[in-house]
Subunit: 420 residues, 2 copies
Amino acid sequence: MIYAAIMGFGTIGSGVYEVLYGNRDRIKAACGQEIEVKYVLDLRDFPGSPAEDKVVHDFSVIVSDPEVRLVVETMGGLNPAYPFVKACLEAGKHVATSNKALVAAHGSELLRIAREKNVNFQFEGSVGGGIPIIRTIYRCLAGETISEITGVLNGTTNYILTKMSKEGSAFDAALKEAQRLGYAEQDPTADVEGHDTCRKIAILTALVTGKEIHYEDIHTEGITGITAEDHLYADKLGMAIRLLGSSRIEGDRVYAWVAPVMAGRDNPLHSVSGVYNGILIRSNMLGTSMYYGSGAGKLQTASAVVADMIEEASNPDTNVLAGWSADPQPIEPIGDLRRRFFLRLSGQCARDAGDPGICAGTAREYLGDCRVVTADGLDGEYGLLTEPMSESRFAEASAALARAAEAEGNRLIQTLRVEE
Amino acid sequence: MIYAAIMGFGTIGSGVYEVLYGNRDRIKAACGQEIEVKYVLDLRDFPGSPAEDKVVHDFSVIVSDPEVRLVVETMGGLNPAYPFVKACLEAGKHVATSNKALVAAHGSELLRIAREKNVNFQFEGSVGGGIPIIRTIYRCLAGETISEITGVLNGTTNYILTKMSKEGSAFDAALKEAQRLGYAEQDPTADVEGHDTCRKIAILTALVTGKEIHYEDIHTEGITGITAEDHLYADKLGMAIRLLGSSRIEGDRVYAWVAPVMAGRDNPLHSVSGVYNGILIRSNMLGTSMYYGSGAGKLQTASAVVADMIEEASNPDTNVLAGWSADPQPIEPIGDLRRRFFLRLSGQCARDAGDPGICAGTAREYLGDCRVVTADGLDGEYGLLTEPMSESRFAEASAALARAAEAEGNRLIQTLRVEE
């Protein structure tokens, strides 16, 4: 028997309790002993809950009880999560958390304390709740040299984009529906602006490089500028618009970015739709592998936290995962990255002949060879798919093109990256 | 430093050597020590190879050297792989193998010896080379109760089916192309008749249930009866034909089967095409997750074997994975399983009106409500998609329908299972 405490008994914390007792036998078989929750820390009481008698309101009860070996942090936010987790690690207790803000902000320090105290600080639930990706990187791809991680890492935005694509909805309408269904929070900023995806790709990149990643260094764009019309073009091209977080590791050089892209049909992330997440990994021996599962639901995230607890209970006296050091990993500017781009321009092009009109001709002067794309029902505009070029070349060319189009009385409506 | 021996220096064995030395630093970091190959056992010599000086022809050199702690078995077949592996385990050495025939035939006994000797017998490379699925089940889903595993587990057949679908090729032509490209063996029986998939789903099912599975008990159909015409209908329905191995675990009752099915667009296995494999797992807390990667290529399989070696080197004195006991797990007859079915019948149906003709009317008498499906360019026949029904009801109804169609001068051309 090993004793645990759960700090924060909201959605995820109570889910952890449910998973621990719902899969009790299986968990006992997996770690060779029972995990028993001794305390639940919360400001509230939970009359009628099976955890009713375990509720405490005072953190010091947990940190000073030597019988408690495993602590779960599911409070969210940095305060008091950060000082509480730090104190638990310093007291020689293992910690499992689903709090990505905590990991992204203080991961390096908390990992160092865990190493010093020979315990574990684990956070499977902080990235892709329904996909056991951190353990996969450590346990399953341990011998691989990973060169790329790219993922649909946020279920909320993927739900919104999928709904826009399937039903032709506008962004605002799809967001409202996501909020109504509980997939999006009342303040959706962290999701729709890409901040959540940014923290997750920062954590994954730190795991792969073994160095600290400052998530502020990662170029991040959200999905608020995506329109129903963009989806019509994507559809026409057999592509799907996904918000991706990606990092590419080339020796010491690391590129990382978050942005909405058009993903082609041959890209395994193309088929990751709705509230699902998918994470693609390229490594030198295995090649391309992909991991797919639910975005962060209550029981999915709780299950990930419990997987951490099982590993900790199986290795009570060992620091099993190295995590990353406090060495900062610089992030390269994205200007060197090469890919195709998609643009929408107002104006006419001679559709039937496949021969672009005046503005398309102008566009080619700036962008080189392009494929003209038209979408049914969209008049007075057309799309262009470029050949692969660097981000910096495209930024320059598209800015010049926008000026030229304006001079013609037209306008550059949209630009999107393409991942084939 | 921990010493290893590789038995069998063919494609996979030399791949293991390549991965071990190619990712040397990463592997050392992962298991805290270097893995050094001391011997390579093969009947041949390998002049010019980096392993040239390590080649031995006598198994007793390996089994009697106490310095060798890890043994890799990549000979294939049962003889002498089985006696060699058994002797190594009995001598207290860890074994990692990619040999699914060995695991399916003697896994229970070899796992028992490993437990008795406190070493590990691991076989990640035997199932879905490019997908770390065994470790995922043990390490990442340890706390989950798994109710279903369904996978595209054989890259050869998936390549053939994808080629037929994309290019309209006949089975024989697609098989020849697969052989030319080295994706299929000269004797393709084990792949195309589903035997390979059957052994893999048997291994996965044994891992999940913890009991021995007799692969002979698993209902197994191959893909030799699939035609280019079947793919036309699948296409029309937005489905893809995949050879699936599947098991469903409902408490003590276990269902398992291998068969080609039409997979709908919402099924994550729909998009697993070409030589790729995909494995879908349903479990009680995580819900649906899917793991996707290359079918068994040289380096993919070798990397899986090396992942086993890393785990063994990290746990030299512990039996880490329980595997399964020698308790046999009965497999239920598949008659109770419910699903939709697809059929092709010769004859006419009134296409334009959406109103089925005489034979379709007859079909409905036997099968109940059906959707009529026609495929462009296929005259003199049509397809039917049934409502969900049990396998046994469908077997009975379709046999009766075949007789009735014959009485009308028509014929039941094909039947296929559907997985939505």
